[in-house]
């Protein structure tokens, strides 16, 4: 199954700008994106809509991670999913060019908290994205499978169109 993630250029700009803001103690910022989804031939479309930044006081001061967040952040994201019938995608940024990928702590933590969104929105695809200066990658948990599916395509809809990750 192919997962195709889409967002507008304006939303990508909002996300990138906010994630680059320094935090008082966290080495990097993270956020959530509220999305809608639908079936398309060969897979699923995930359509990003609302950027949900983490408040400064939602970060946990944990030196083992570049960014760790507390239960308040998770509660706010879960509430958004419930209220808006939304798929939720965690997002963070690696400051380099070229295709990014998740660190081992990123993967370990994502496996732990992303499936929690099924507690409020069972069945919907939820996942995590990592952006770089000019590319992106993502993982998606769907249909209560233990293992995530790598997002096959990430398209930025705008002028011009940008295919940040594509395996068609």
């Amino acid at each position: 199954m192919n997962i195709h993630f889409k967002l507008t250029a304006a939303l990508l700009d909002e996300i990138s700008t906010d994630l680059r803001r320094p935090h008082p103690f966290a080495a990097e910022r993270a956020a959530f994106i509220g999305c809608k989804a639908s079936a398309c031939r060969g897979g699923i479309l995930v359509l990003a809509h609302t950027y949900i930044p983490l408040r400064d006081d939602c970060y946990a001061d944990d030196p083992r991670f570049g960014c760790a967040f507390n239960a308040d952040a998770m509660r706010a994201a879960m509430q958004f999913a419930l209220t808006n019938d939304a798929s939720m995608f965690h997002v963070h940024l690696h400051e380099h060019s070229g295709p990014p990928w998740f660190s081992r702590p990123d993967l370990r933590e994502s496996r732990r908290f992303i499936p929690d969104f099924w507690n409020v929105k069972p069945g919907l695809p939820h996942g995590t994205l990592v952006l770089s200066a000019d590319a992106a990658a993502g993982l998606c948990w769907y249909a209560r499978r233990e293992k995530p599916i790598r997002i096959a395509q990430i398209t930025v809809v705008g002028f011009p169109m940008q295919y940040l990750g594509r395996s068609r």
Binding site: T8, K36, A37, R144, V157
Partner: protein, 272 residues
């Protein structure tokens, strides 16, 4: 870049790969859509989703690019005419010919990166725009009319509906009054006059806007467009209503509920 596309190398080193990676939908393979299909194949687009329920026939041989006398005689579906033409130009393209109205296969429509609307009527256009907005797909619409009178007059338009930007209603291309009037006329018989040369102008303009969207060669316009065609004066002109609409947020699409398929039932199998 391969030798095949060397004459369009000014579009950039990656243009060949970007066109190949793009899947274009075309709703309507008549006078406008057939032109667009042919040009996209020449440009090097790699994926096509073709929607049209209609068959080739003698009355549309005056404007359907790629259709032959034998196709009209055998009533070959228009999507198969277009598929043959595309594969003749670019045998490596992946073509999904769907001999039906586009509304019968939403999953195929949603798999497109860009959609070309080449259909008649305001109601159909409004529906297609809503479906494209729900899947975050840029829609490039073309249309022309021959207006009866003394003398006859030809006009048309190309309109780009870009997600997050002004829609057909914002720019005044589709008005509630037009939809109401069309609803009242529903069922009236008769085919409008259609000719090949205005369709060619509008299709070429639509393909140029598409190329600008994928591999812009200049930065003159920002993605949206509303271009009017005066077929009597042989001119294309930007419609000033777009500039006004660009200053305001689209009030018709934009809420989270305007995205996705509200009727979708995701798979909910149990954990492995």
């Amino acid at each position: 870049m391969t030798d095949r596309f060397s004459r369009q190398s000014f579009l950039g080193e990656e243009s060949e790969a970007l066109f190949r990676a793009t899947r274009a939908g075309i709703a309507g393979l008549g006078g406008g859509g057939s032109h667009i299909a042919q040009q996209l194949a020449h440009v090097g687009v790699g994926g096509f989703v073709l929607f049209d329920p209609d068959f080739s026939d003698f009355p549309n041989l005056n404007r359907t690019v790629g259709a032959t006398f034998a196709d009209a005689a055998s009533k070959l579906p228009k999507v198969l005419v277009a598929e043959r033409m595309i594969r003749g130009i670019n045998p490596y393209s992946v073509v999904w010919p769907i001999q039906a109205e586009w509304q019968t296969d939403f999953p195929a429509l949603r798999a497109c990166d860009v959609v070309f609307g080449c259909i008649d009527g305001f109601g159909g256009r409004a529906q297609l725009e809503e479906s494209c907005r729900r899947a975050m797909i840029p829609l490039i619409d073309i249309g022309m009319d021959v207006h009866e009178g003394e003398p006859y007059s030809i006009s048309g338009q190309v309109v780009v509906s870009m997600p997050g930007r002004p829609c057909f209603k914002c720019v005044g291309f589709i008005r509630e009054k037009d939809l109401d009037d069309e609803g009242r006329r529903y069922g009236e018989a008769g085919g409008n006059p259609q000719v090949i040369w205005p369709n060619g102008v509008l299709a070429s303009t639509a393909v140029a806007l598409f190329v600008q969207l994928i591999v812009p060669w200049c930065r003159i316009h920002p993605g949206s467009a509303f271009i009017g065609y005066d077929g009597d004066a042989f001119t294309l002109e930007h419609d000033g209503r777009l500039a006004v609409a660009e200053k305001q947020e689209c009030g018709h699409f934009g809420a989270i509920g305007d995205l996705g398929d509200p009727l979708w039932e995701p798979e909910t199998r149990t954990r492995e």
